[in-house]
Subunit: 306 residues, 4 copies
Amino acid sequence: MLNETAAGVYIISATPFTGTGEIDYASTDQLVEFYLEHGVSGMTILGMMGEAPKLSSDEALAFMSHMLKRVAGRVPVIVGVSNAGIANIASLSHAAMDQGAAGVMIAPPRGLGTDEKQHGFLSQCCEALGPDVPVCYQDFPLATGVSLSAELFARMVWDFEQLVMLKHEDWPGLNKLTRIRTLERRRVSILCGNGGIFLPEEMARGADGAMTGFAFPEMLVAVVRLCNEGAYDAASDLFDAYLPIIRLEQQPGAGLAIRKEILRRRGALKCNAARMPGPTLTREDHTEITRLMARLDRRLIDLKGS
Amino acid sequence: MLNETAAGVYIISATPFTGTGEIDYASTDQLVEFYLEHGVSGMTILGMMGEAPKLSSDEALAFMSHMLKRVAGRVPVIVGVSNAGIANIASLSHAAMDQGAAGVMIAPPRGLGTDEKQHGFLSQCCEALGPDVPVCYQDFPLATGVSLSAELFARMVWDFEQLVMLKHEDWPGLNKLTRIRTLERRRVSILCGNGGIFLPEEMARGADGAMTGFAFPEMLVAVVRLCNEGAYDAASDLFDAYLPIIRLEQQPGAGLAIRKEILRRRGALKCNAARMPGPTLTREDHTEITRLMARLDRRLIDLKGS
Amino acid sequence: MLNETAAGVYIISATPFTGTGEIDYASTDQLVEFYLEHGVSGMTILGMMGEAPKLSSDEALAFMSHMLKRVAGRVPVIVGVSNAGIANIASLSHAAMDQGAAGVMIAPPRGLGTDEKQHGFLSQCCEALGPDVPVCYQDFPLATGVSLSAELFARMVWDFEQLVMLKHEDWPGLNKLTRIRTLERRRVSILCGNGGIFLPEEMARGADGAMTGFAFPEMLVAVVRLCNEGAYDAASDLFDAYLPIIRLEQQPGAGLAIRKEILRRRGALKCNAARMPGPTLTREDHTEITRLMARLDRRLIDLKGS
Amino acid sequence: MLNETAAGVYIISATPFTGTGEIDYASTDQLVEFYLEHGVSGMTILGMMGEAPKLSSDEALAFMSHMLKRVAGRVPVIVGVSNAGIANIASLSHAAMDQGAAGVMIAPPRGLGTDEKQHGFLSQCCEALGPDVPVCYQDFPLATGVSLSAELFARMVWDFEQLVMLKHEDWPGLNKLTRIRTLERRRVSILCGNGGIFLPEEMARGADGAMTGFAFPEMLVAVVRLCNEGAYDAASDLFDAYLPIIRLEQQPGAGLAIRKEILRRRGALKCNAARMPGPTLTREDHTEITRLMARLDRRLIDLKGS
């Protein structure tokens, strides 16, 4: 069961599709092994980056069951359950927990413009879930249009005991992270998103790790480890080598296609297809990916040499 | 099958729930009879006002099947199929058409900020649907964040033959409606939303009727008929009597609770419950509804007397 | 000086332009007399509806000076000072107060997505204004993108003594108004906007009047008076007669052109021009205005007869 | 006069303030020399990053006059003239051109949701400016909420001869840039914003340079030069060294404070103050800046050594 001590890298899993748009379970198994081999501490499925809103309910349930079976007992799995309806959130959450999920992740729906509305929404969720479902709250204003203050988060942590984790994805978010750590009366786990683009700074400010889908999870894992050891410069040296690619993957929308293509090139996915409507890659995109991956290889060799 | 000549009132059906939040099929049957008795020309189900995003996929399919069976052969039924994924839109559409729907309604997803993106989205939809599924396009910027120009609509009508209807719900929208009628090279059906709050003016500018969920469908029906007969003043006299309530129901979010309560008071629904997260009624809301319904009754008596 | 007891109708004044887009001061004087003759209790200038953002700073200052001189000693004048910069807000406010304004109106800038940010913004404003400038806070989410909860407003009223008035313009806003009255520990003046489209209900829920620019201020004045006398039905009878026009004027953007044209037809403005970019009237708009004004005249005769 | 051949780095100038919030002209002169010494090809003043909306009109005019005199005959100056009113845009533009500006920059106002509205707005601007004022169009959807397709831009370039430059700041924007170059029938200058975070890729896709305010203009200058020489790897080596800081500066809102502080540390500004409401730096921000600037120094030494 997920709790406040969760740390490390919870990789946001891609959802593999065939060229004709079906979920590819063989490719899924391969992807799971790829993530585990690269040292992730947990997995998050059915997130935005997992294209969950473009799955049918049946597909989402089937994919979830498959993943939970496949990963069971190896690392904890968090299931994204964001939905326009509280009842849907509850039923998917209960199905997930019954099948072995460690917890669920909820992003607020568009339009919660006041602290009261956001608190009320999470209150309704927690009541519908029951007290035994651990919750990770996703704070991603660029995608949801909903803003969360450190003050409100501290209040929600105090009011809802099952809220054990924040997916920190506000932009800018560094001072908010510091402020959350200052205000909190119960320490929760904070894992960072946004492709990890501020990960070294976030670790220095009190994050516990990353929850993002970057196509090189081994970098995220190493950076978190090095930061925990206080080796911030070594962490930054490694991080900086990947930063040109992080920047490319972090682009809203288009980044998903780039991420899937890199995973494909690394042998983690059979096909780079994203579901429609979704981004596709141009010839120029491919050229840039090839060039940046080659530059990364050279840079990693330099780093080892130094 | 829905086509460009569709006219009259296509009522947006509420989705009846029990007090515990389950779909209430007995109440649904009652609601269908209520709508038909009050003279609607068609029905639209699983729209935003039908709380479609808060149903599970299974519930949506079951409700659709029930409605299509119940209404079959009486009036045409349009099924709302808006979804984040093209594949989901296609599969729900095909299920609907197989079970006797007259056509489907699609609203663009958030974020289509340019004409090209909006055209591209509808193009993907039409390709996935195949040419035999008639489409009503919902233009509701307040809810979707997507704006449609008359020029773009004319272009889409020209490019996509199966686009036979516009649910006109922009605000302000009167001059746009006039402009669409000026630019069009193929005349499509235009039915007006927004609770009907500009219906007499819209009829004068070339609309073919209304597609909205106002709790007094008989007014919409009479206004459309009177306008078609050129009796604009009689239409406006009737319309004006209901306008204080239209205004109340048209409020975003809160209006749904008011609408369901009025339908309940009129015997069309067993329960006014909306699914969470959703609006609830306060004591003051009830007082206002009571007062405005009483005022309407008096006004209708006056109108008959005059 | 504006204080918590302010009540009645504070008309939002239009800014009169000549056909070539210059401020027309002769027409302005005429407009002032029109408003005063129709019984307004106060005036608000340089609001959104006054096209303030389209004036140059010099024009805004000149128009303000002219109006303050013209209205001095007759009714209180509130000056809209919303601006992207705190320093600009302060300097315009101090100029206004020096020249006899009763207070200033501030709307929050776009992007204040949390309670903390909104509170912080008003705190910066109050500090820059100094304690002697009475403030009316404009709550108009449709235009600003900023939402205000009753809880936050109560907190701001408590923290900022100079906050003496709310321009209530949320939509839906009725239950929020009730909740503000329930939560408040210091009673402030609440004047309602949105063209007055919910004015009778808002008066019943505790509003003190209206602050809006409806082209028939005498209706607003009478409705507020009748509601204060407890004659809600008489108030609603009058209100309902104007509702078809209120509805037209309340349209975002386009409504301003309609309002200015009606004011012109009533002899209150010499020219209906709005500054670019702005709405213009089509032939169909003119037809609708003519028709609705004629219908209003007949309805008012009926009302007197009854 | 600005024309389609403009290229290189047009630095977006900060506006220097004293600690009490006044424009600091001594610091301004120093800043101008800093930019010129570091090799910029042009300067853009009164942009968003220049805090233009927080200046009073008089301050904006005074700052513009000062800058135009100071820079006259050294490099071309573009003046940001974005405003809610066309008349204000025109008068500021004419004042700028009279005093020696090379051209003006216009960003569309919020709410232009259709191609027609955006085209109409630019058409009104061009008519008000007259044909002799060269225009740079700023495409920055994250700040304006307005999206521009390559198709629409090509159409506007064709229709408005004075449109000679695009400030390319969409995100993601790489494929759009390629598409603009494919569609254009008249080649215009494209300078890239967003802190330069995709500059090497943008140069490879046909950009002519950068228009952004990054605190190390010498990097932008060198990267543009190297790319023009086809030395993309050398360009990327240099770019990558600065990327950790670019990333920090590119944060919306907060980035401005970081940029001003780095300029201060480099001796280009006397004071890092931004006008209220605006970001301020925390102790942790200072630590990060110190650390990243030290890392940059080491990296540059390594680069020279290699």
